[in-house]
């Protein structure tokens, strides 16, 4: 018979810094789902977390780096991918996962995202897309839908949002997927696939932000948001990312890109060997 305490311990708690809990996220926030999918993927794959570095930027989901029990870096706003590039290239034995938000990765950090994807630097980037800057109280960001209300779009947003999966595939990511926080099992499988694949991998997770973004746009409770995602999400693997704009009527989810391409580190190693051979020959 297990004692009550043993039952209460979550089977995945070993992946978290228990002393850092409870987390800072609001009730109904999708970030917890993303974190649990991530650690479940680590567990399923039996990842050596001693060789794992979790890197995040600033924002609600940026706190993930402080919760996962691995080496972790909570960087300056927008710079997670740039800093992760340094870690990855300096120590090829380390696995890098960047977990951050839509504002961090695509507004202030947008340039780093496209260039790391272009270079095919080995890392998995998981973006929690909640359509606004939650931590600062709900301002519009690069993924905020047209006409949405936020504290800085009091009359509705007049900016066209990014289609992140289109952006990622155009920039050269070798794996691009999108799920909502309702698709827990598929998201976990997707993270597992990304973790096992080489190169720059991107997973967008449509999150829920009932307290901040949801409230202003009258989206209802977290459960209602989930029900909405259930209604409008359409699983379509291999579909054209350029036609996957998120609308009120439809969110196309699934794997958009899954290709092979030499990584930056592989090309660098090859080049280094070539140079050394040439020099050894007296060239």
């Amino acid at each position: 018979m297990k004692t009550k305490q043993e039952f209460e311990k979550h089977p995945l708690i070993k992946y978290l810094r228990e002393e850092r809990l409870p987390h800072i996220w609001c009730e109904g926030c999708g970030n917890g789902i993303i974190l649990s999918s991530f650690v479940r993927a680590l567990d399923d794959l039996d990842v050596d977390t001693e060789k794992l570095v979790v890197v995040s930027g600033i924002g609600c989901v940026g706190r993930v780096a402080g919760y996962v029990k691995s080496d972790s870096f909570h960087t300056t706003h927008g710079r997670a991918i740039a800093l992760a590039t340094g870690i990855r290239l300096a120590d090829p034995d380390l696995g890098i996962v960047v977990i951050s938000g839509d504002g961090d990765l695509f507004a202030i950090g947008g340039n780093h995202f496209i260039h790391a994807a272009r270079r095919n630097v080995d890392m998995t980037v998981i973006c929690s897309n909640n359509f606004n800057y939650g931590m600062t109280g709900g301002q519009f960001g690069p993924t905020t839908p047209l006409d949405s209300y936020t504290t800085t779009t009091p009359y509705g947003s007049i900016e066209h949002p990014f289609n992140l999966v289109h952006l990622a595939s155009a920039a050269g990511a070798v794996y691009v997927a999108r799920w909502t926080v309702l698709h827990v099992r598929r998201l976990t499988e997707s993270i597992k696939k990304a973790l096992q694949k080489k190169g720059f991998k991107f997973i967008e997770v449509i999150s829920s932000c009932p307290e901040i973004y949801g409230r202003r746009n009258k989206l209802g409770s977290a459960v209602e948001i989930m029900e909405h995602y259930g209604k409008i999400a359409r699983v379509a693997h291999g579909s054209d990312p350029s036609k996957a704009d998120i609308t009120d009527e439809e969110i196309v989810v699934g794997e958009f890109v899954d290709i092979e391409k030499p990584t930056y580190a592989e090309l660098l190693k090859k080049q280094s060997m070539r140079v050394k051979e040439r020099q050894a020959e007296g060239g």
Partner: protein, 389 residues
């Protein structure tokens, strides 16, 4: 046939004729730098070019990032992965780096930033040397902090002081700047690269305790915490937020902030005597002191010699360390200085520090803007006037 000798020769021991930027790159490699991230910018580009060519030969990594924000972030990442890292830039890029220089200060990341100074503000004079970033290097990022900055005045020093930057950076876990003017960087001179065994290199302190007993930001007696790098099983959490000794955010506790910020400053200030280096010429009986750094210190030496020939008791104090500012050196000469002359290729930066630390002394400033170094005659004239006054 495989030429092993060539393969096993990471540094170019011997006498060379090269420019300051190249010497800086060679100094970095000799210091053990194996990661360079940068973005092209005049007049620092030759450092990147040399590193791109040389790092491949020593199993290092050169990466050209998308901007200087990214370059600075990448070298911090590489340092936490256990590799000595460096970036090189000039004014406009240095401005962009300030954000993550603050991160390096806060996370106590050893790393070296080379700033080959050109004329500003803004795009200014890309091809002309200047000394306009001295205050920016001290105060450029937000918050209270201390850094270390060294100012070379020859191509040999571009090599030597780059090594010294790495050693200081590793010792004190602080971003360290090689603050060179564009003229010293583009100068071609003879450089002696010693054998690898005779070059002193320092590596950061490693934890002596097991991971379960390790507190990543708990300082030792010298105020510097031992550094576990990623992948060693210590599971370190690093954050730019105010953090406790475990590395965990404590952002609303006044005491944590007070303790942390005070220590970040004190670990440099309290080691001033170990860090600061100056060189003096003919100062034993001097009455008029020229205080200079970088390229103007060369014209200053000529001016001091000329002044001596005409009977003026002049001497030169050359600042090798700019930050922490050599307060004690200046205080000492103030006791016997009739006057102090400070030539700088800016509108008055180090002269403020000289005035602050030499209360009561007559301080004369010679500004030189526009991309022309001081002529010895200009400094001599100032020395003559100061001697008469």
């Amino acid at each position: 046939m495989v030429n092993m000798a060539k393969q096993e020769k990471p540094i170019l021991t011997g006498a060379h004729f090269m420019n300051g930027d190249f010497a800086c790159a060679e100094g970095a490699i000799a210091a053990g730098c194996r990661f360079f991230a940068g973005y092209p910018i005049t007049p620092a580009t030759e450092i990147a070019e040399r590193m791109a060519r040389r790092l491949v030969e020593v199993d290092g990594t050169y990466i050209q990032m998308e901007d200087e924000l990214a370059s600075m972030a990448a070298i911090i990442g590489a340092s936490w992965a256990g590799v000595k890292s460096m970036t090189a830039t000039s004014g406009p890029g240095f401005s962009l780096m300030q954000e993550n220089i603050g991160l390096a200060v806060m996370t106590e990341t050893p790393c070296v930033v080379v700033n080959i100074m050109r004329g500003g503000p803004s795009t200014g004079q890309p091809t002309e040397g200047a000394q306009q970033d001295v205050m920016q290097s001290r105060w450029g990022s937000h918050g209270d902090y201390e850094i270390i900055a060294l100012a070379p005045a020859s191509v040999q020093e571009m090599f030597d002081l780059t090594i010294e930057c790495f050693n200081l950076s590793e010792t004190y876990r602080v971003p360290t700047f090689l603050l060179a003017d564009g003229f010293t960087a583009h100068l071609w001179e003879r450089v002696i690269i010693p054998s690898l065994e005779t070059i002193r290199t320092v590596n950061r302190k490693r934890p002596k305790v097991r991971p379960e007993n390790y507190l990543p930001f708990k300082p030792e007696d010298d105020l510097i915490p031992a550094m576990a790098t990623f992948g060693q099983g210590y599971r370190v959490h690093v954050t730019g937020l105010t953090h406790d000794e475990r590395g965990y955010p404590q952002t609303v506790d006044p005491q944590t902030q007070q303790r942390l910020v005070e220590r970040l400053c004190l670990k440099i200030r309290s080691n001033e005597d170990r860090i600061v280096r100056t060189r003096e010429f003919m100062t034993d009986d001097a009455e008029v002191f020229v205080i200079a750094y970088g390229i103007p210190s060369r014209a200053s030496l000529t001016a001091v010699r000329e002044a001596r020939r005409s009977g003026i008791k002049a001497g030169l104090v050359r600042l090798i360390t700019l930050w922490p500012f050599p307060e004690k050196t200046i205080a000492k000469i103030t006791e016997r200085a009739k006057a102090i002359v400070v030539p700088e290729m800016n509108n008055g930066q180090i002269v403020r520090e000289v005035k602050r630390t030499s209360e009561g002394a007559q301080v004369h400033f010679i500004s030189k803007l526009g991309g022309e170094p001081h002529r010895p005659s200009e400094i001599l004239e100032a020395v003559r006037k100061a001697a008469k006054a």
